[in-house]
Chain length 391, copies 2
Amino acid sequence: MQQLAENSRHAARALAKLDTTSKNKLLLAMAAGIEQSAAKIITANAKDLAAGKHLPPAMLDRLKLDAKRIAGIAAGVREVAALPDPVGTTISEWTRPNGIRIQKQRVPIGVILIIFESRPNVTADAACLCFKTGNAVILRGGAEAIHSNLALAEAMNVPGVPANSITVVPTKDRAAIDELLKLNGLIDLCIPRGGEGLIRAVVEKSRIPVIKHYKGVCHVFVDREADLDMAEKIVINAKCQRPGVCNAIETLLVDAPLAGTFLPRIEKALAAQGVEIRREADWTTEYLDLIIGLRVVNGVEEAIDHITRYGSAHSDAIVTTNQATAAKFLREVDSSSVFWNASTRLADGGQYGFGAEIGISTDKLHARGPMGLEELTSYKFVVTGEGQIRE
Amino acid sequence: MQQLAENSRHAARALAKLDTTSKNKLLLAMAAGIEQSAAKIITANAKDLAAGKHLPPAMLDRLKLDAKRIAGIAAGVREVAALPDPVGTTISEWTRPNGIRIQKQRVPIGVILIIFESRPNVTADAACLCFKTGNAVILRGGAEAIHSNLALAEAMNVPGVPANSITVVPTKDRAAIDELLKLNGLIDLCIPRGGEGLIRAVVEKSRIPVIKHYKGVCHVFVDREADLDMAEKIVINAKCQRPGVCNAIETLLVDAPLAGTFLPRIEKALAAQGVEIRREADWTTEYLDLIIGLRVVNGVEEAIDHITRYGSAHSDAIVTTNQATAAKFLREVDSSSVFWNASTRLADGGQYGFGAEIGISTDKLHARGPMGLEELTSYKFVVTGEGQIRE
């Protein structure tokens, strides 16, 4: 693993020298490479499917790659090629009284380790986002997808791509992860994506900075001054539109004066969508299912207290027509995204206009909320003078 | 330590609610508090001086607080009060096609742990920078300054400051640090300041994100096309103006064609300043003294290779009149600050116009280079709609 990471470090130096035009050309070549290798990728995928035939059907379906899905993966790579490149852009610049010019410029981070459990398309997604931002990437996907992941990475390794820019860890051995997580001199950042157990294990072991979210225990608070039609629409969307994702809500907080009006109405509406309502809950569970915790609270202050105590600092919403109440909620709820009169399901890189999303962070350092290309960059200070010294 | 950190967590919530005017008033009150407590602080400092009488005279001098130094500390707090408050400012904002308005707003990080070895004035400095940015701070200074640090923190705890906003760890016990570094659910960030040994120990043990620099092995490369008068001025400044600090250079790289001209000249000039020149060195040592490594390299490429291999990614400079050579150096040297025709001694929050500096980072995540008030903040996405949902 040490050698693998050192190779990635070398690749990072070569990648940092590539200009935007070269990177975009290579990304388009990668997309073509994926299409041309479709048969190889499907053969590799068949090995994974055969080895995984004991897996639940839903998981097998997610693992499966066919011509249509491979075309979709290639299209995703082309979309990233078309996005603006943050590397080399100037974040800010100013001149000091002594005449030195300071430019804060975006640069690649270096080597990024991505640990994930999900579908093989994440391999191509993460690889091309890292490549676009001039970072070398080490990918460690689910053991059940290893042949598919290796075939995808090989297809992306087209002529002109610096050697070892995109590396899939070529072993199912779990000890490899532990070794990689100790290489803080060679790897700059680790992004784990998956269940809470995986992420806690990574944080526990890692000496590399980790950006992550453990889970999404998100809330909608319906204030006494809410537009009730809007509130119903937002609650149903935030719970039901896709219950298995992290920005779906787990708990509905209803303001006490609405106990006789909105409460029976929303209970009926949720039941009509097949949602099970729990009035007694531990309030910290991420159901990822058609289950919702429901609690009556007395005013925005109690709602904020509940979210502070039980929430996961991911995405939380208030529905109200009262601007002062909204302002208090937006200010005091310490979550990566806070919403006023909109659904928490909008907490997403695509919805925010980032063009791509590498993950979501509930951390406070470096990146918070949906992470796009900019969050895969660092910066440096470029100082230009005419002989200035420290007086 | 758990209880201490929980108290800081509560303080962070209260601090996040304070507006800029309130924080600035309280900072001015803290400055007055320090002045009014001068006698108490000097008494506490006398205890530290008595207990530390075995310490080297230079260290005792740095430990000593008198009326003049206390006035200087109070003046520093007033300067921070006068700086702009980054918290609550909007970093960027945009509207999406569906009409939602997204604001990326600066917020406090939360609870910051600062571990340092240096003079007691760091206590007041760090405390007021964290307070200004709405962060609770836990300060762990050198054991030899514990009474001085406790007295300073007490003097800053004026009426109106939320309880436990500024906490000095009230024990010399080293196990306290280890305990604190495990509290990643309660403490958001650790900034260690001191020698490389301290910082490596912190990184090894911490489950809290750490921002740091290990050391400063900085370089000046004098290119064949340099203005030699400028080069001499910059080299002498970068080495001699204050050799004991991290942005002073440790190695001078001279381009081969200058071996007969600039080389003898700079050797003479350095010797005249009392600098010992080493032509054989391990190239990674931070001398922090009037010693310099000197190496002849063949061109900018070799200079970049040397810096990449042996440098600490802190601050590195090129002296040249050739713009293309400079551009190559500025782009390919992966250091937090890179200089063209200016001294590395300018790598400093004050010199960059940040008004204050909490430390310097050679990391790539969150903050790189000199860290001012902005680097003590995180952000959140504030999304405002009129009932928008995910389609």
